[in-house]
């Protein structure tokens, strides 16, 4: 069994078999992470560069841990402290790194499509760690893994994605993945943050009412309100957003059923999620982070074979 792709650029071009293979491999890596020695020698002769052109804590640490636990050698690159700040092009930077014999590239970039561009021009395997407002495939995979672990299956699962759908690569990757694996998806948020034609384009339902959405769903994946986009005036204030779409204990209690709460982090406490909800037993936010390492190990492992022949 092998993946149908040489790179992981997005969920859009993965098959459901690819996704199942990644998730089942991740289960075995999760077992590795429970052992006294949390490390396997599989990628001993592989060198991986983590190219981060955009800030990140969770994803970068998670990838780095995953690489180290597979015994790969890693190099970290942050654009702010590199020659990129002197005006070097992306392709030049990467080609220079590759000439030092690097096998795989994990990349985050603020421009949508940057990893796709690289994949066309360089021989190494590329893993997209988030590109602009396009995709964040490993986040969607770890979200799916966490839903499956918590509720048993993705098929027929009712998942609500709540918040800034317009600017969210997490939302887009999650929608592609959940639809491919047979889950039902509703996106919910203020009309200004939901793309106009998303229902017909991606096959999801749209709701502007948080209470109805929560009453319908089994799992609520709550997205971060991107404070850096506040100058675009998409809603009048954080306080207004919190009143209309924030999830608090009172709202959850009124549902008379227990739904699973997820969040890709970082949380704006008191905006999209209240603290007592984020820290409650219903929330699997920290399990998501834990599963992220296993899922990324699975992706790196499954993509590492091709570079041996390249």
């Amino acid at each position: 069994m092998q993946l149908s792709t040489k790179h992981l650029l997005g969920i859009k071009n993965l098959s459901s078999q690819d996704i199942s293979l990644i998730l089942s491999t991740a289960e075995q890596f999760k077992e590795v992470l429970q052992r006294p020695v949390k490390k396997v020698p599989s990628l001993r002769e592989v060198t991986i560069v983590n190219l981060f052109y955009e800030n990140s804590t969770r994803t970068r640490i998670s990838f780095e841990l995953a690489e180290k636990r597979l015994s790969a050698d890693t190099i970290n690159f942050a654009a702010s402290s590199s020659s990129a700040a002197k005006g070097e092009t992306l392709l030049d930077t990467v080609n220079n790194i590759l000439s030092m014999k690097v096998d795989m590239v994990v990349m985050r970039h603020s421009a949508s499509g940057a990893p796709h561009f690289l994949a066309e021009h360089i021989p190494a395997a590329i893993i997209n760690a988030g590109d602009g407002i396009n995709e964040h495939p490993t986040q969607a995979l770890l979200d799916a893994f966490s839903i499956q672990e918590k509720t048993g299956s993705l098929v027929g699962r009712k998942v609500a994605i709540i918040g800034d759908i317009m600017h969210s690569r997490v939302a887009q990757s999650n929608i592609y993945l959940l639809k491919k694996m047979g889950a039902e998806v509703v996106v919910c948020g203020p009309p200004t943050l939901i793309p106009k034609h998303i229902a017909s384009a991606l096959g999801v339902s749209v709701s502007y009412n948080i209470k109805e959405t929560l009453a319908w769903c089994d799992v609520a994946n709550v997205l971060r309100i991107q404070l850096e986009r506040q100058n675009q005036v998409l809603f009048s204030s954080l306080r207004e957003y919190s009143i209309a779409y924030g999830i608090n204990r009172q709202l959850l209690d009124s549902l008379h059923k227990e739904i699973v709460i997820m969040h890709p982090g970082p949380i704006n406490r008191g905006v999209e999620l209240d603290s007592d909800v984020a820290d409650s037993k219903q929330s699997i936010i920290l399990q998501q982070v834990e599963n992220g390492v296993a899922v990324r190990m699975a992706v790196l492992y499954l993509l590492s074979g091709r570079t041996a022949q390249a």
Binding site: M1, Q2, L21, S24, T25, Q28, E31, V32, R35, P36, V37, K39, V40, P41, S42, L43, E45, V46, Y301, L302, S304, G305, T307, A308
Partner: protein, 174 residues
């Protein structure tokens, strides 16, 4: 495809191996059985059942080991991993590694690497259903073997469980 060891003969071999193990390791409380995925797990499950009967209810701990991530050719061919399940400590124990066919020795080398990531056993012994001694590539020998079989280098010996749940050893020629 040819049957080398049918189910009845295989169970006889298992029975004999179980007797050997009980004599060699009389204290079952410090001995654990670890089958190597996938054929070794079938053999170790059968051995476990035989040991349970013979040891009159004393519990022999048994688990399964997957070596996918430890293969020395791991990146030439990416394989989907099997289940690992070692729900006990191997620290200070006598671990009996169980496999179906001992051939080049590479699987056992990888299994030893995998095993030591779970702790430091007192000693590790190797028990195999079938030994093919003439094609060994590593200095590894079995402590307990059911049967020695001579076959061509390219021949594949495969343990299969049929629809009735009976294990048998097959020869798959090129």
């Amino acid at each position: 495809m040819k049957t080398l060891i049918n189910n009845q003969a295989l169970l006889t071999i298992i029975d004999r191996l179980a007797d050997q193990l009980l004599i060699a390791y009389p204290d079952v409380s410090t001995t654990v059985l670890v089958g190597i995925q996938q054929g070794g797990v079938v053999v170790s499950n059968l051995l476990y059942q035989a040991l349970q009967k013979k040891s009159k209810g004393a519990i022999v701990e048994h688990g399964q080991l997957d070596i996918t991530f430890y293969r020395d050719d791991v990146r030439h061919k990416i394989l989907a991993p099997d289940t690992m399940h070692l729900p006990f400590s191997i620290e200070g124990k006598t671990v009996i590694l169980v496999d179906d066919v001992l051939f080049t020795g590479r699987t056992i080398k990888a299994a030893l690497d995998a095993l030591f990531d779970y702790g430091r056993p007192d000693r590790v012994k190797l028990c195999v259903l079938v030994d093919r001694p003439e094609h060994r590539q590593f200095p590894i020998q079995a402590d307990h073997k059911g049967q020695v079989i001579k076959a061509q280098r390219n021949d594949k010996l495969k343990l299969r469980v049929n629809e009735q749940g009976q294990a048998e050893l097959l020869l798959l020629s090129e």
